[in-house]
Symmetry: C2
Subunit: 508 residues, 2 copies
């Protein structure tokens, strides 16, 4: 029964599931001629507050001029439906979206003011509750990239992100963790490090991210090998049994604000230093870590471009970690070229398997780096004598303890499976003969992304050369892999010129 005259908010409308998947953006659809749109003059793109039982969301309202939604109904995107969790036809309460006072702080930050701790708490709470539209989140991230967060702001953001999510607690006296700031394609040491450290009985409950701006994150790689979206009780069981796990952090909501922001960061391909530190440390703190080793690859086309930048970021991480009683050891590594052979979720998984299984053609650089990081973590946690870490870690790979542990961890997470093989491949040959002098990590990673990685898990690039190698004209320098002909063509059509990806010097 529709009212004749004007109606006022709050107003009740019947829930309808639209079946439209808008990602994690919350959207609702209302008939343009429904009583509330007419009475309130709601325009397309208005933000509204919708509540049901104790759930509340702020969503963008779109007008509909078809019978997709009735005059007494409101249709919800899949994400909005999940948040409110009504049954079809149940009455939802529609109201004006609250004003967002935290946006004043975002504006202030854009214009150069410092964010106060309470500002940051409000911003993070608004983001987690879905009260920020994409526009607001993009402005917040851009402001934090343009006006880098100082240690106090970064600590406040870290604390707010931890506070907004779940938190793991462990009975163990110490809990190890590792992280890589990224930017180096193929640098997939984490599964190997976790297998080694856990083989020594040191607890290492590893939660990893999906890729932000790279062709693969550790969670993307592990998802090709086993289940990574475990619940908190499942993670606890795996770690208590095997000392380690390799799961996706997003499924346990350790830092839901960060999970929300990742989609926006990905679209913009930006990652400010304070934002990066808060993202890393919030997840380590929420995961209950006490000792963390962080890999800092430094190179002109890595995420960290110079020793100077590395020093700044390490200083910020150490300053902030100290405020939370977290022990951090930063390890600077060579970031001039990719690690291993594969770039892309499944391709990197195959490299990890080759190292753990001691295959004769396993990529040695990947093994060396993983063993060094695991060794540092074993020494740092007091598990092996100082000076013995690397040798002991290497022995655990050589004698198969790490591979055995890796298999048990995957079995405990739901079973180990073979990563998929790419459906379509195309070699990219050198134009001329010469010596490889430089490899552009970013442009090479972009080729893998254009081919479909990380969404297309079998897509990516295999690199066949390293700096210092001699190549002959016509010899393949890398191979593009894709799941579809579209991905392959798109990558070939849009990749940077070959001599900007792999630079050759003369042979004399």
């Amino acid at each position: 029964m529709l009212p004749d005259g004007p109606v006022k908010l709050p107003y009740k409308l019947k829930a309808r599931r639209s079946g439209i998947d808008t990602g994690n953006e919350l959207v609702v659809f209302m008939h343009a001629d429904c009583p509330v749109c007419r009475s309130e003059g709601l325009r397309a793109h208005t933000r509204v507050l919708l509540s049901f039982n104790h759930h509340k969301i702020v969503a963008t309202a779109h007008h509909v001029y078809s019978d997709m939604v009735g005059m007494d109904e409101i249709a919800l995107s899949e994400s909005a439906w999940r948040h409110l969790d009504p049954k079809p036809g149940e009455l939802l309460t529609l109201a004006h979206a609250p004003a967002l006072p935290s946006l004043s702080a975002v504006r202030g930050k854009i214009y150069g003011e410092r964010l106060k701790g309470t500002d940051i708490d409000e911003i993070v709470a608004d983001i987690v509750a879905g009260r920020y539209s994409d526009i607001h989140s993009a402005a917040f991230l851009s402001a934090c990239a343009a006006r880098p967060l100082d240690p106090g702001e970064t600590a406040a953001l870290t604390r707010a992100m931890v506070g907004a999510g779940e938190r793991l607690t462990w009975e163990f006296p110490l809990v190890a963790d590792k992280h890589c700031v990224g930017g180096l394609p193929g640098n997939r040491t984490t599964p190997i490090v976790v297998a080694i450290v856990a083989a020594f009985g040191v607890p290492i409950p590893k939660t990893s991210s999906r890729a932000i701006t790279s062709p693969a994150g550790t969670a993307d790689v592990m998802a090709t090998l086993t289940s990574v979206d475990l619940t908190l009780p499942e993670i606890r069981k795996v770690v208590e049994q095997e000392s380690g796990c390799l799961v996706w952090g997003g499924s346990v909501r350790l830092s839901p604000a960060d999970d929300q922001l990742i989609r926006i960061e990905r679209a913009l391909d930006i990652d400010g230093s304070g934002q990066l530190v808060a993202s890393v440390l919030s997840k380590k703190i929420a995961a209950g870590a006490t000792h963390v080793v962080i890999d800092f690859p430094v190179g002109p086309t890595a995420k960290i471009r110079s020793e100077n930048d590395a020093g700044h970021l390490i200083g910020l991480i150490e300053a902030v970690a100290g405020r939370f009683g977290l022990e951090v050891r930063a390890i600077r590594t060579d970031g001039t070229q990719p690690v291993g052979r594969g770039i892309g979720p499944a391709l990197e998984a195959w490299d990890v398997l080759d190292v753990l299984q001691g295959k004769p053609d396993a990529p040695n650089d990947l093994r060396t780096r993983a063993v060094a990081l695991a060794g540092a973590l074993l020494e740092f946690t007091g598990s092996v004598a100082v000076g013995q870490g690397t040798a002991q870690a290497d022995a655990a790979v050589s004698d198969g303890r790490a591979w055995a542990k890796f298999q048990r961890i995957c079995e405990a997470q739901g079973g180990l499976r073979e990563p998929p093989l790419p459906g379509l491949s195309r070699d990219v040959p050198a134009f001329a003969s010469g010596v490889v002098t430089e490899i552009d990590n970013r442009k090479l990673a972009m080729v893998a992304k254009l081919a479909g990685a990380p969404e297309a898990v079998a897509a990516g690039v295999t690199i066949h050369v390293r700096i210092g190698d001699r190549v002959s004209a016509g010899q393949p320098v890398f191979t593009i892999h894709a799941e579809t002909a579209g991905g392959l063509h798109y990558s070939l059509a849009n990749m940077a010129p070959l001599d900007e990806i792999i630079r050759l010097g003369s042979l004399e």
Copy 2:
């Protein structure tokens, strides 16, 4: 007939009009199980390139899990439908969205690099073509606010914005225009200035904006009095006949990039100086102006907060205008308190009518300011002797020439009508007695916006006091007007504390 096996892009799908109005964001809806989503692994929120005849758009693709769209169909938002203009069932070609090289320049700007002219051309072209999502546009605007554009960047942005739109040319040897940088509620001088200047036979083809972050723009106010969305030939006819017009700039696409960005600026409530100058000058240049007077209200809560800020902005405007051969005269005015009585589209229209009709209770401050600006423009264009501008402009109001001209302009635009009256009003009384020492323009404007202005054209605020006035406890200091009970309650519930909007000093 659906294919059995995998398909590849480009791929053709039947056009369906979704009837969903997503504002000017371009969105398409595809069935999650359609051949192309399955084959290409398209995810929700993927950007796709859609083409039909010679039209191309980049849109955000949402997945649908209902029968809203068939397996061989693609449903378009109203904005996407308008851009491509197909007939239902016609075949549209779907392809991967092109990579957006201009985003590298946006990222560079965020990190402090200068934008090159070619970067800016590409960014503006991408925005106008709809290739930027809200996320990208928000990052661009945030970057330009955080890292202010220098005169070269601002000139390049101005040029790119002019180049992306329509351009008016006139037979007249000189063409007058006026602008106000805004931030002062109720400062609706434009309709009065145009009426006066046109009454002297000086061509003044005025195109105005809708509100960006304020409760009303001149186009919003004029839309309550006459038609403002005229075509280019219609504008030309009005100006040739009456010397002046008062139309909305957006309908003639003088600066479509600016029109696209306004929605994002509004959501963020930011307005960077370079962006502001480019927005103003691009529209003046595109409108064919040769002489422009710009009103700069300066006050602690106006858009321009200090003489220093005014000097910076005036310097930037003069530097950039000079590159385009545009004569600009900046006039600094008092920006400490609102002008006139009404704040909101219809309320300000009533003030304008009262001044033009010479009503005894017409707001004198509005008349004084309009007459001063019109006088400056008359002197500046050589239409009256230097030193005579203000007196001559004032005489044109007093003897009814301005009112007669205003009526003829409105008639030529399609007829003069009465602005609507607000449906609901509520007085806000002073808590205590005292003398008004400060009025916060921003917080007062926010009350009008919370009440529904500018979308609700009759909504807003009427202010009853000016700085220096004595008030008694309980005496109304302003009145909130709304079109709906929801707007009224929302405004009352969310407005700033009264003593932050209107500050009272002791009576001694």
